[in-house]
Amino acid sequence: MVKQNTTLDIERNLGNFAYPETHTHDAGTGLTEKTIHYISDVKQDPDWVREFRLKALQTFLSKPMPTHWASKDLEAIVFDKIRYYLSGGIQPKRTWEEVPDDVKRTFERLGIPEQERKFLAGVEAQFDSEAVYSNIKKAVGEQGVIFVGSADGLKEHPEIFRKWFGKVIPTGDNKFSALNSAVFSGGSFIYVPPGVKVKHPLQAYFRINAENFGQFERTLIIVDEGAELTYMEGCTAPKFNTATLHSAVVELVAMKGAKIQYITVQNWSNNVFNLVTKRGLAHEEAEVKWIDCNIGSRLTMKYPGVVMKGRKARGEVISIALAGDGQHQDTGAKMVHAADETTSNIISKSISIGTGRATYRGLVHVPKHLKNCKNNTECDALLINANSRTDTYPAITVRGTGNAVQHEASVSQVSAEQIFYMQQRGLTEAQAMSLSVNGFVNDLVRQFPMEYSVELKRLIELEMEGSVG
C-alpha cells in the first residue's frame, strides 16, 4: 500500500516570505458602507462606480452563503475580521527601477520580471490591493493594445469599460461576485483592437503580503473582431496563521471571430480561500479557452464558464487540480450554449493526495430550438491514498433534437501493484509515483504554453515528493 505522508511545500516555500507592512492606506477590518466610501475616496472613483459598489454591498449582504451545496468550510470565513483594502498609496510604475525596493525584492524572488524579459508582451504585478508595476512592450502598445490596471481602465477608457463591465458576470451572480463588485481593487483591463494578434502572452502576477487580508481584483478583457490574445496569471501568498481571502471576478469578451486564451496557475499558500468567478462571452465564431491549474489554496471554488452567444462560437475549459493534504479543490466549468452550431469542450483532471479532496462541478446547458450544438465533457480523477477523496457533480440540460452532449467521468488509482511493477524495473518509489502522476496529466499539461508546461511538470513533481515513503 502506498504510504501516506504529505508534507509538501517545497515549491510553496518559494512564495512563503513576507515583508513588514508599510501601507499608507488601510480600510480597516470589517465591511460596511464606510468601508466602501473609504475605498472609493482613496481610489477617487467616479460616482457611478461608488453607486455600483454600494448596490453590490447590499446584494452581498442579502445573499446567503452557498453552503447548501458547497463546502461547510466556507463558514470559517469571518467577514468582520478581514481587511478589504490595503495599499502603499503608490501609482503603478512603468519601469522596474521605480518600484519600491521591498516590493521589488518580493517579485524578484518570485522570478518577475525575469520572465517578462524572456517571453512576455507585458506584465502587471499586484501587491495586496493595488498594481505596483505595469508594463507593456512598446511594439504591442503601438498596435493599439491597451493593458492597464482596472482603476485606470475605468477612468481612461470609460466608453469601452462601462459597456462590458459587470455584463458578463452580473453583481448578483453569486455571493462572492457581489463581494468583489463592492470592494474590487486592482486587476487588469485589456483591450485588443480588431485584427490584432498579440503574439506573446500578457501576464499578471498577484501577491498577497498582508495577514487577514482579502484580495479582490477585477479583470476585464475585450478582444475585438478577429483579434487574438493569450493572458496568463499566477498567484502566491506567504503562509500566515489566519485565513486569507482571494475573491476575484474575471470577465472576458470575445467579439466576432476573436480568440482568447486565459491561463491560470494558482499556487496560493494553503490557508487562502480562493473563491473566484470567471466567465467569457463568445460572439459569432469566437473562441474562449480557459486553462486553469489549481495547486494551492485551502479551498478553491472556481468554475470558469463560457456563454456562447454567437453562431459557431466555441468554449473550452481545460482544468488540472491537485489537492494535497487538507486542501479542497472544488473546480469545474459552465458551458451555456445560446446559439446554433456552438461547441464546447471540458476536460478536467484532478489528483487527490493524502487527505486532499477534489471536486468537479459542471453545468452544461443547451436550450431548445438550437441546432447542432455539441458538448463533450471528460473528467478523470486520480486518487493516491486511502484517505483522499474525489467527487463529481455535473448537471447537464439538453433540449431538442439537433444537439449532442456527452459526459464521461472516471476515477482511478495509483495502485500498489503499479508502483511495485515500476520498482521491479529499478525505479524508486518516488520516481514511480511521479511517473504515474505525470502520465495521468500529461496530455493536458501539453496544452499549456511551453514555459508553463515545464514549470507545471516541475511543480507537480515537487508536490509529489514526500507524498510517498
Binding site: 482511478s412 511495485f420 529499478g426 511517473l435 502520465g439 495521468f440 500529461n442
Partner: protein, 254 residues
C-alpha cells in the same frame, strides 16, 4: 559467486505459510523450470524474490552473486540485476513505453551520467526488431489496452533492454496462443547465454517445448519435491501432478 542461491526459504502472507523451506540454486548460464499445481506457491516465490511488500519472509536467505537480496528494496534488487517478468503486468496509463524504459535504463546509470537519447533509441529499436515488434509500440502507454500477447512481449522487451543477470519468468505462457507463445519463447531464447540465469515458472509443460530447460523442479505445497532433467516435464505432462504428490512421503494436508 555467479549464482542465485535460495536457501531454506519460508514465506507467509497473513500468517499463513506459503513457502515452507524451499532451496534452489541457479547458476548463470542455466535455465531452470519450476512446475507445480495451482496453489503450490510458484507465483509467490517469484514475487518474494522481487520483494513484493505483501509477503513476509520468516526465515531463509536468497543470495545473488553472494549478496542477500532480501536486505534490499524492490528497486535496489532490480538495479542489482534481478528481473521479474510478471504474470499480470500492471497498466500505467499515460506513460509511454519509450519514456518508461528510458527512466528504467537511466536509473541503472551512475549518478550524474545522462543517457544519450540516440544510443538509447538505437538499442531499443534493435531489441524490438528482434522481437518482431512494431515501432509504433513505443508510443503506447505501458500495458494499457494490450492484448495478452502484447503484454508478455513487452515484458521480454524490457528484459532485453535492462540486461539482467537473473530473470524470473512468472507464468509467461499464460494468456498466450500458440503463435504468441513462439514469439515470446524465441525472444527468451535469444537472450540465453553464459551471463544470464533464468528461472521459468509454469503450470504447463508446453512452454518447455520452446524454451528447453537445463533442469526441471517440481514444487508442491511450498517446497521443491522433485528435481530432474528436461524429461521430467514430459513425465509430469503424462502422469499429472498427483503422481508427484503420491510420491511424497509426507502425509498430505487436510
Amino acid at each position: 559467486m555467479d549464482q542465485l542461491v535460495i536457501k531454506d526459504l519460508h514465506v507467509s502472507i497473513d500468517e499463513q505459510e506459503i513457502i515452507r523451506g524451499l532451496s534452489l540454486t541457479i547458476p548463470k548460464g542455466e535455465v531452470h523450470a519450476i512446475m507445480g499445481p495451482n496453489g503450490s506457491g510458484k507465483s509467490t516465490l517469484a514475487k518474494v524474490l522481487a520483494g513484493h511488500p505483501d509477503y513476509t519472509v520468516t526465515s531463509g536467505t536468497v543470495l545473488m552473486n553472494g549478496e542477500n537480496v532480501l536486505d534490499f528494496e524492490p528497486d535496489e534488487r532490480a538495479r542489482k540485476g534481478l528481473f521479474l517478468a510478471f504474470q499480470y503486468p500492471s497498466e500505467i496509463p499515460g506513460v509511454t513505453i519509450a519514456n518508461f524504459l528510458r527512466a528504467a535504463v537511466q536509473a541503472r546509470m551512475p549518478e550524474g551520467e545522462e543517457l544519450e537519447a540516440t544510443d538509447y533509441y538505437a538499442e531499443l529499436y534493435k531489441k524490438m526488431d528482434l522481437l518482431g515488434m512494431d515501432r509504433s509500440f513505443t508510443s503506447r502507454s505501458v500495458n494499457e489496452g494490450f492484448s495478452g500477447g502484447e503484454k508478455k512481449r513487452n515484458e521480454i522487451l524490457q528484459m532485453a533492454m535492462l540486461t539482467p543477470e537473473f530473470a524470473v519468468l512468472d507464468e509467461t505462457d499464460s494468456g498466450l496462443d500458440i503463435d504468441a507463445l513462439k514469439v515470446v519463447a524465441q525472444g527468451v531464447n535469444s537472450l540465453r547465454g553464459p551471463k544470464l540465469g533464468v528461472l521459468l515458472i509454469t503450470h504447463y509443460q508446453r512452454l518447455l517445448n520452446y524454451i528447453v530447460p537445463d533442469h526441471v523442479h517440481v514444487m508442491v505445497r511450498g517446497r521443491i519435491e522433485l528435481s530432474g532433467g528436461k524429461e521430467l516435464a514430459l513425465q509430469l505432462e503424462e502422469k499429472g501432478y498427483d503422481w508427484v504428490r503420491d510420491d511424497i512421503t509426507e502425509p498430505a494436508l487436510a
